[in-house]
């Protein structure tokens, strides 16, 4: 079989064709997961029965594989009358699934903020909502940049699961080329390196953000 560099280069444009789909899914899901996760965490903190429900939801997500979730949303919901497009299911699935993880990240990020911060805001008469927006969230961002970046990489790496929903993302494209040509090494290597490169770009970006946040307000 061997490795044919020319062939590998030839597959590159074909695989990159699916890059926009991969990026669309990854970026939208990152935003969705962060938004849902943050709200889940705020709800959980509010406590009460609702907090318990949220907590169980988060646990449930964390105890089950993403693939099964995608199957359920895509193939089972329509039996109950909800038929979403593959792309919607993909983005909704990844967002919901990782929101459980990000909620935990937010929890750790908020817990790391000294209790005195919220108290100081309270003592100044600042309302709960404003406290979250102006005091807690900005500080949390610095605490969570690194773990959140890790989950963004995870979301990127989870986009190939959308192949089961027939969403044409990068890895699926690579497998298509492979099954057309029966050359597996080249397209998979190209796809693998592209994923690795994207993942590293995200990690570096997060590192940069972290450094910036750290210098803008040295504690």
């Amino acid at each position: 079989m061997g490795f044919d560099l020319d062939f590998a280069i030839a597959t590159l444009p074909l695989i990159l064709r699916a890059l926009d789909m991969t990026l669309l899914v990854a970026v939208t899901s990152c935003i969705g997961a962060a938004a849902i996760g943050f709200n889940l965490e705020i709800l959980r903190r509010a406590g009460g029965a609702f907090g318990l429900v949220v907590r169980f939801f988060i646990d449930f997500i964390r105890a089950t594989p993403i693939l099964v979730w995608l199957y359920c949303l895509y193939f089972i919901l329509p039996f109950y009358g909800v038929r979403l497009s593959a792309l919607t299911v993909g983005i909704a699935g990844l967002s919901l699934y990782y929101s459980g993880y990000l909620a935990e990240v937010f929890k750790a990020g908020i817990d790391a903020i000294p209790k005195g911060q919220a108290e100081a805001a309270q003592a100044l008469g600042i309302g709960r909502r404003d406290t979250v927006i102006f005091v807690i969230a900005p500080q949390m961002l610095r605490n969570i940049a690194a773990p959140m970046g890790n989950y963004f990489v995870s979301i990127l790496k989870a986009t190939p699961y959308l192949a089961v929903l027939a969403v044409p993302e990068m890895l699926g494209e690579a497998f298509d080329i492979a099954s057309d040509t029966y050359r597996y090494a080249e397209p998979l290597t190209v796809a693998g390196i592209t994923f690795l490169a994207l993942a590293l770009i995200i990690s570096r970006g997060v590192k940069w953000l972290e450094d910036r946040l750290a210098t803008s307000s040295a504690r």
């Binding site: 193939f75 038929r83 089961v164 027939a166 699926g172 497998f175 298509d176 099954s179 029966y182």
Partner: protein
């Protein structure tokens, strides 16, 4: 040690299947390898003292890589002979003529009876297995890829059909027969009829590694003998294959490997 010698010495051949009736699958009840190709191979090798057929179940797309990687000695899972595949593996003699068929919802609401119906009705979304030959035929017929959803396996295709995500699932006729035979698939039926031309038919065979020419020769020799003594016909009957599926004289692996290549050259 060459593969052939090893198989004869150990009395065991390892084949790759993708767990699909009627091609090659693990019988849920007995755990044994069954299916069209496993049965053929069993019959072909048993007189040589090879009693054991060991199966490795894998995804369809991993069948050829697995063979090339030496994960198994042969693929016995309904692979069609195509020129591209011929460049990678050595096919045995063609053993079954394979037409295409379509699964549709009960009553065939979109009235699909051939590739043309799919091509001409812009509302129709077709489903098929990623990397299967029907996809290439559909593309050759001019069906745009935007109207195809390609799923990694057949159960996803069936689920997509039942949930209205696709209007027809294109499969090979034997596969459809296999699906229908035990009545396991609810709420769907084969499009009757689904018209295909003879040129669109493909032929399946057992695939070996190109290094294992001697093993392939041995298998071919045994296959001819089985054809003579009626064993092949008996196994065909077991899976519900008839005249339609018979491979006519003059169709050889060599021709199938080059024929469409000429077409491609035209």
């Amino acid at each position: 040690e060459p593969t052939k010698e090893r198989i004869l010495r150990e009395g065991k051949i390892v084949i790759g299947v993708h767990n699909r009736a009627p091609w090659g699958y693990r019988d849920e009840a007995t755990g044994q390898a069954t299916g069209w190709h496993p049965d053929l191979l069993k019959a072909a090798f048993s007189e040589l003292g090879v009693e054991e057929i060991d199966i490795r179940v894998t995804e369809f797309g991993a069948l050829i890589p697995g063979l090339l990687a030496g994960r198994f000695d042969a693929v016995g899972s309904g692979l069609s002979i195509t020129p591209e595949r011929c460049q990678q593996v050595a096919f045995g003699a063609p053993d079954l003529k394979e037409r295409d068929a379509a699964l549709v919802l009960p009553g065939n609401p979109k009235n699909i009876h051939g590739y043309k119906d799919i091509l001409e009705n812009n509302d129709v979304i077709m489903g098929a297995g990623r990397g299967s030959v029907v996809v290439r035929k559909a593309l050759a017929e001019g069906i745009p890829s935007e109207r195809m959803l390609l799923f990694p396996d057949i159960q996803s295709n069936v689920a997509a059909l039942r949930t209205g995500r696709v209007d027809a699932v294109l499969l090979s006729l034997p596969t459809v027969l296999g699906l229908m035979r035990d009545g396991a698939v609810p709420d769907v039926e084969p499009a009757d009829p689904f018209v295909t031309t003879d040129e669109q038919a493909t032929f399946t065979s057992v695939a070996f590694r190109q290094d294992d020419e001697d093993l392939k020769a041995l298998y071919n020799e045994r296959f001819m003998a089985l054809k003579e003594d009626g064993t092949v016909a008996r196994i065909m009957a077991k899976y519900g294959f008839g005249e339609e599926e018979m491979v006519s004289e003059g169709i050889t692996t060599e021709r199938l490997c080059s024929a469409t290549k000429d077409e491609a050259a035209q």
